[in-house]
Amino acid sequence: MDIRAQVSMVFHLDKCIGCHTCSIACKNIWTDRKGTEYMWWNNVETKPGTGYPTTWEDQDKYKGGWVKDGDRLRLRLQGRTEGLGNIFFNPNLPTIDDYYEPWTYQYDELFNAPEGDDQPTARPISLITGKPMDIEAGPNWDDDLGGSPIYASNDVNLEKLTEHEREQLNEVERLVFFYLPRICNHCLNPSCVAACPSGAIYKRGEDGIVLISQEKCRAWRMCVSGCPYKKTYYNWATGKSEKCILCYPRLETGQAPACFHSCVGRIRYLGLLLYDADRIQETALADEADLVMAQRRIIQDPFDPLVIHAAKANGITDQQIAAAQNSPSYKFVKKWGIALPLHPEFRTLPMLFYVPPMLPVLGKMKDGIYDSSAVEGMGQMLNSLEKARIPVRYMASLFSAGNEEIIREVYRKNIAVRLFKRAQRVKDISAAEAQEALEIGKTTAEEAEAIFNLTSLPTMEERFVIPAFAREEAIEQSLDPYTHKPAAGFGYREAPARRW
């Protein structure tokens, strides 16, 4: 047993309102520099949709993540020697057009225009070339299903749906969608790390945050291709790859990452998980249908004396163990089993988990009017699972590598919690019915209460359980990260600029 600690995140999708506050918080702190304008370390995409960069989930195109090859794992991208062979040209690199060309406007033309009959206009100027450009795409071009015939219908997760299901989705396309906020998953088996020829990307031993050393990065760009979530980005101005750093300077001073802190829907949770590093390979090699369960199994019980003992032997502090015992991630992911990894079939063992949105059919369109009066009793609610407007199969394609039963289990439990609380508060469901719902959802009154509390009423301290962290040496040397950052980005010692 090799017990290590991992900062792990949970996003509760039922609560996300798609306001993009998280993305802006991140951008203002980390990616407002030249070369990073196009990067959104935190982005929120509309599902169904093609996401950012466009169709990032399509690994036939981008070749990210791992493939199970008998009893071995290999990078879908390339073998090691092949990697060196591709060093002069990376054949699977997305280009700026797969994201979008960043731009600004010639605002001064608005102010300096001579008086005339026409309203002056501010032309868009490319932030790469500095020349006028035609805007063809931008961040969240398909927000809220905008342009869905082009975007949403190209979502790769729709491929697994039947013709009928797809039609169904289309019928209500103006009604149903949900938001999927994404950051780097700080994976246990990161393929970005494995793909980097320079060994510049590393996982911090103490907390599992995945970082790119800006001094070791040699611009081979293999991580950009290797990460199946497309969460490392190439800074074209400095010739270095950059990625979400989980705001480690904030974490190290006891604050939640900026996107977590600013989240309007309060959908974000952060806490430690203890896991057994000896079992990473075995977990990543699990059968597709078993991946979610395998990932739950590798997470260890922080109350188990054996685990605590092994953790201490590995230098994990008492504080960290206490934080792991109190961790909201542990509850959502392992104890309650209602948070699932995004695309576990990429086999990187992502450590960001999602509570899938329920989107139950509680009403329907009747003559152009949304009619929800039909909801009565618990039958409707429980049935809503089968009639869910976004088919269970779609959710399974996103969150359980196709295992629909896992999605159903999560839904049954979440619906049970709702019915249980509804029986208590609205009182239009009998106690017996609520009890039956709890049984169907394989949960208990206490658990339902706890899920309800952490879902709906959590305080800041309950959402973010942050133990004392070991500080990154880089920042340690350069003192206060907030004074340091405007001068040097997050490179250290010297400004991240090229003189040659």
């Binding site: 990697g83 040209f89 990307i201 031993g205 103490e206 074209w236 032997a313 230098g315 090229r498 003189r499």
Partner: protein, 245 residues
Amino acid sequence: MSNTFLWAVFPYIAVALCVFGGLYRYFHDRFSFSSQSSQFLENRMAFWGSTMWHYAIILILIPHVLGFLVPGAWAALIADQTRLYVMEVTGLALAVMATLGLAILIVRRLSNARAQSVTSVMDWVLLGALGLQVVMGFWIAFFYRWGSEWYLHTSVPWLVSLVNFNPQIQYVTAMPLPVKIHMLNAFVILALFPFTRLVHIVTLPLPYLFRPYQVVIWNRKRNVPYDAPTGVASIGPDVPYLRRG
């Protein structure tokens, strides 16, 4: 002066610049110690240009280096007429490939606005020097046949004499102009090494072939019970920051 300077002094200056400049940059400006790829901004021409250029130029450089390092073995290799012939033809073909690849890269940086925006003055200087070098190389291969043979009796003894700190410039001073340009420009390129993206040559990540896939770095030393070390920042009530062991 000129001959002595060009053939007996300048090469030393160039090599010194290359070595000491390179070391200086490695230790003091490691951030920029790479080639700043622009494939992300322009993909299609980068493929043809970069692949053709790199593979061709590496294959061309190998015989250049072999002839210098193991002239005896090289002479034996080309003693056979057919082998010499094959060598010359391959060399010519590779020269065409390298020239074409470099031409594409130059056109790319000239014509593509995005690629242009990440091109520095030193990039142009380097492209110019490399362009001159391959064009001259091609010229020599075409008009002064059997270079694999005469190289052994002209440039190689001169290079060897340079290594022995006893420059014998008579081996090269009578060479035709294109050959002279080719030889001198080679040293110019060496001198440019630390000041351009050429430094990426020595960053070939061979350890990748042997290292484990995953890289984990511990900020604190593991498994060692520790007391709060003196003079080190402490961030929590009882978690002292530790140096890496």
